[in-house]
């Protein structure tokens, strides 16, 4: 293997004089006082390799030895990834010793001793290719497929396959033989470089199936699909993290990968603390059982921040290849972009807008392109849905990360400072935000069959009410309450009903926090019924007090268990109240 010596140090950028071949993105280790500090090659000029160190460089000296590995940053993939807490380089954080992270301490991501009950899915003589399922083991409640390694080239014949029984992850469960007679032993573990997309599937059709998140402002107003992409930009405090956590809790996905990228450690602690207790609304099991966390919080080494989002994506793709519905969340993709910026500046590259690297857009586009709904080679389907947050400087959406992301993500959930200030949570701006899927015929068909007839039209209609309400509100503000026709007030208050009852949702209320699509449809119909009704008002003050009362009753319905006595009683009270004024 190639070796080298340190020749310069500036923060976490180090140059190394090498004695042999090195590759871009190759992993190497700096030897420093008995510890090995992991680093990645990011640029090569002649005999000089520029490396970014994934650790603090304090104390490193000129002349320190460096060992190259010949490998890019690769993930270890196999049963036992679920429910783990990894750092940005896939070290199992729970296995590290002591309260503080020690430089150079790394921990194997899986459990090498644990035995898994293996069930073969192929027979001797079968012809297989990369990513084909050859067996399965139970991991928590999912059927974890043991696959032909993604790196396997061409076709191979099953020479032998292990019998049903328990095996550790490193035992051979199959032997494949290619057309040249070359044999490959397959275990339950395989490796894959994080920066390379896993594309061993048949095709990637347009997504159209609703991915329920339990959040009304998303599911009803701007739906996400299985295999879809979306992003949540917003100034600090607008509710990006709370919204992502709400999605992580309630989304109708088989498993969820949460990448905490360069944000607060306490927010990850919240997941560590709550997810083992909270129930997965779909299965009644604990949320933790379907969740894997990749965390590189803001105080952890900056270089590993970039790696962390790729680690999350690669894990997601691995499970998608098993035919599962995976949701990947990343908070915040801006921190990853900033990590790229710090390094690009140190490398003295020509800076693009706001000193971000010139190829930022391409990097973001490549990443989002890895999400998607796919049909596997065996005909089953799987998906990676990706939702990232963006933290624009100064809350101004005209900045490179937001703009680059907008070009590639299909859903835009813009969080508005004004709504957050008014405690109108989730603060998703109803007019500027969009979901392109609402225009997909694939989604329309899905909604017709699975939500109700005319669903998309109903959604569009309620959006129109919100738009008209905003216009009326502007007029009222310009001309004054009594200078406008009463109708303006009615328009405005109808949009407030939609805002308070459909768009706003209490993420901290046990019941309101999760609203299944059936309930969402019920409430949308109720609200549209009110919006479509005409009422008899004497003056504008009567308008506001009438709608405030109606909103109050509708809110009580939102706080009650769906179709419970309480719910029904509030609804009766509401109906009676409405009838009085209706014409």
């Amino acid at each position: 293997m190639t070796k080298g010596k340190v020749t310069s140090i500036i923060a976490n950028l180090i140059t190394v004089e090498v004695d042999g071949t090195v590759g871009q993105n190759e992993i190497c280790y700096i030897l420093h006082n008995q510890v090995r500090l992991m680093s990645e090659v990011i640029k090569i000029i002649g005999k000089t390799a520029y490396i970014q160190v994934f650790e603090s460089t304090r104390g490193i000296k000129i002349g320190s030895d460096v060992e190259f590995t010949g490998q890019m940053l690769e993930l270890t993939l196999g049963p036992g990834l679920l429910s783990r807490n990894y750092d940005g380089l896939q070290n199992d954080l729970d296995k590290l010793t002591g309260n503080f992270l020690k430089r150079g301490e790394y921990a194997y991501p899986l459990d090498e001793k644990k035995k898994y009950d293996f069930k073969p899915l192929v027979s001797e003589g079968d012809m297989l290719q990369a990513a084909d399922w050859l067996g399965e083991v139970k991991e928590n409640w999912i059927d974890h497929k043991i696959m032909v390694p993604f790196k396997y080239e061409g076709k191979g014949k099953v020479k032998s396959i292990a019998a049903e029984g328990s095996y550790t992850i490193n035992e051979t469960v199959a032997v494949l033989e290619d057309e040249n007679g070359q044999t490959t032993e397959v275990t339950m573990v395989q490796k894959w470089p994080v920066k390379v997309a896993v594309t061993q599937y048949r095709n990637k059709p347009r997504p159209g199936i609703l991915l329920q998140t339990g959040v009304r402002a998303i599911d009803t107003f701007n739906p996400m699909t299985e295999g879809g992409t979306g992003f949540i930009p917003g100034p600090f405090g607008a509710g990006k993290t709370v919204l992502q956590h709400a999605i992580a809790k309630n989304a109708d996905a088989d498993l969820i990968i949460v990448t905490a990228c360069g944000e607060r450690a306490n927010e990850v602690v919240e997941i560590f603390t709550e997810f083992p207790e909270l129930e997965d609304p779909r299965t009644g099991r604990k949320l933790q059982e379907r969740t894997t966390i990749v965390c590189n919080t803001s105080n952890m080494p900056v270089a590993a921040r970039e790696a962390s989002v790729y680690v999350g994506m690669t894990l997601a793709e691995y499970y998608r290849a098993m035919g599962l519905k995976v949701l990947l969340l990343a908070d915040s993709t801006s921190r990853w972009a900033q990590a790229l910026r710090e390094m690009s500046n140190r490398l003295e590259e020509l800076p693009g807008p706001d000193a971000f690297p010139m190829d930022l857009s391409a990097i973001i586009a490549n990443f989002y392109a890895r999400a998607g709904y796919v049909v596997l080679n065996n005909g089953s389907s799987g998906s990676v849905t990706f939702i990232g947050t963006v933290s624009p400087a100064g809350g101004n959406l005209k900045e490179p990360v937001t703009e680059s992301t907008r070009k590639v993500a299909r859903c835009f959930y813009a969080l508005a400072q004004k709504r957050a200030d008014a405690k109108r949570y989730p603060a998703i701006e109803p007019i500027d935000s969009y979901s392109k899927y609402l225009e997909y015929p694939e989604f329309d068909r899905f909604a017709e069959d699975n939500i109700c007839k005319g669903w998309v039209a109903m959604v569009q209609k309620s959006k129109d009410f919100v738009r008209r309400g905003a216009e009326a509100y502007d007029q009222i503000n310009i001309l004054g309450d009594d200078a406008v026709p009463i109708d303006y007030h009615v328009q405005y208050w109808k949009s407030e009903v939609i805002d308070f009852i459909i768009l706003q949702q209490d993420a901290f209320d046990d019941i309101d926090q999760n609203s299944p699509i059936k309930r969402q449809r019920y409430m949308l119909e109720k609200v549209l019924f009110i919006c479509d009704s005409e009422f008899d008002f004497q003056d504008f003050e009567e308008v506001s007090s009438f709608f405030k009362k109606a909103i109050n009753l509708l809110k009580q319905m939102n706080y009650s268990r769906f179709e419970s006595d309480e719910f029904v009683n509030y609804e009766k009270e509401l109906d009676a109240f409405l009838t009085e004024k209706k014409i």
Binding site: D94, N99, A393, K548
Partner: protein, 441 residues
């Protein structure tokens, strides 16, 4: 302070001197190692082959090319022990109170991060008596939160008040660019409160070189980690003013020819600030570090890179502003936020806390709309009038920073004000709580 050991190699040939740095040929030097340049503390910031660049904390004025350079073979350190309590130190950790040197174990400052899986979720309320904080923006141990204040707000007074009322085992003050008057204010305030024995101060005043400030947070937080992680104590760290800290970061990166990003701040500002603030933690053995900082604003502009990056890092912010209607400084309920309040309100405090909090802020917001209407010359409705009357009471009895009562009393005051100005359905609180606490008709 930094003392030299015998037989250390002395270098005397500087090849380059800038405003903040000097460069010389030297070998066997570790990155971030400390050195003395003609007795001035300095730190290695760059090594290129055999050329070592040092950042000289007090500046390079008067340094000549034959200055004596001694490398200390270690990064910056602080000696920690119980005897830190009650003492005042410089940014280098040297006593400035005339007392003896500290005898204790040497610790590198700016040490490693806490493993996130070892952190505990913060869950202990910090009561300050100020309703604008306790009721609307409740603080929790292990939290990190700054005051965002214009330079003319009494932020240091509020900070001292909060620190003394919070029930902490140790209070560690990190003063950066503190005016001498404010330094003396803190000293008197703590002495008069009889609390000096639990207070440790690291002070860089306006009279000291600005770059020295860069050491203050790490000094304060390394001391804090000693008490919180090893002695399991509840430690409160006060950092004032972090804007001046960031300014010092900008000076250094500028001198190092780095490409500045927004507002002439270094591109790494987010990571630099996060490294400081993320030291706040609830430790598994019971100790905690809570950071309350001050970030002064330039004409209230929170989109400036310093408050903006801070807001993305800290767990909320407390906004001070003068309410001219009541003539008092208040904690602004709209722009202030404690992100950890959910962990305690309604759990460690009375069940009606979350709803009373939200209702109060919402009605106050209605009042602000009414006010805009009034300013624009529109007629006010009867509801507008009631909102405005409510706002005056709410500002005076809840938001003003001179309020000092228990959380239960704050909640009772809330209900009292709701009943005084509003009808039942206007309050918008859940029915079961209304039935229990509503004081009006």
């Amino acid at each position: 302070m930094v003392k030299t050991k015998a037989f250390q190699k002395i270098y005397t040939k500087l090849s380059q001197i800038t405003k903040a740095t000097c460069t010389l040929e030297a070998s066997g030097i570790g990155y971030e190692e400390m050195a003395l340049v003609d007795g001035r503390p300095a730190q290695v910031v760059k090594i290129f082959k055999n050329m070592v660049t040092l950042q000289i904390f007090p500046g390079t004025e008067g340094i000549s090319t034959n200055a004596e350079v001694i490398f200390l073979g270690r990064p910056p350190v602080i000696k920690v022990s119980e005897s830190l309590a009650g003492r005042f130190f410089s940014a280098y950790g040297d006593p400035i109170d005339g007392g003896p040197e500290i005898d204790g174990e040497e610790r590198e400052i700016g040490g490693p991060s806490l493993n996130p899986v070892r952190r505990k979720q913060p869950s202990e309320l910090i009561a300050t008596g100020i309703a604008g904080i306790d009721l609307n923006n409740t603080l929790v141990t292990g939290q990190k939160i700054p005051f965002f204040a214009d330079p003319d707000q009494p932020y240091n007074q509020v900070l001292a008040e909060v620190a003394l009322r919070a029930d902490a085992d140790k209070i560690i003050l990190g003063g950066m660019g503190l005016s001498n008057d404010d330094f003396l204010f803190f000293k008197d305030k703590f002495t008069n409160a009889g609390a000096l024995d639990k207070i440790i101060s690291f002070i860089n005043t306006t009279e000291n070189p600005p770059v020295e400030r860069l050491l203050v947070p790490d000094m304060a937080l390394t001391a804090a980690e000693f008490f919180a992680a090893e002695k399991n104590e509840k430690v409160l760290v006060l950092l004032t003013d972090m804007t001046l800290y960031a300014d010092a970061l900008a000076i250094v990166s500028n001198k190092m020819d780095q490409i500045p990003s927004k507002d002439s701040m270094p591109g790494s500002l987010y990571s630099d600030l996060a490294k400081v603030y993320e030291k706040a933690a609830q430790f598994p053995e019971g100790g905690s570090i809570t950071i309350i900082a001050v970030t002064t604003l330039n004409e209230g502009d929170i989109t400036h890179a310093i408050p903006d990056n801070t807001g993305y890092i800290t767990e909320g912010q407390l906004f001070l502003r003068r309410d001219t209607d009541v003539g008092k400084v208040i904690v602004d309920p709209f722009r202030s936020l404690s992100r950890l309040k959910q962990l305690v309100i309604g759990k460690k405090t009375r069940e009606d806390h979350p709803q009373v909090m939200n209702a109060g802020v919402r009605l106050f917001a209605d009042a602000m709309n009414s006010r805009t209407k009034k300013e624009n010359g529109f007629d006010l409705t009867e509801y507008d009038e009631r909102c405005l009357a409510f706002a005056l009471d709410y500002s005076r009895e809840i938001l003003a920073i001179d309020v000092n009562v228990s959380v239960d009393e704050m909640l009772d005051t809330g209900w009292k004000l709701f009943a005084r100005h509003f009808k039942r359905h206007e309050v918008g609180i859940r029915d079961d709580l209304m039935n229990k606490y509503w004081k009006g008709e």
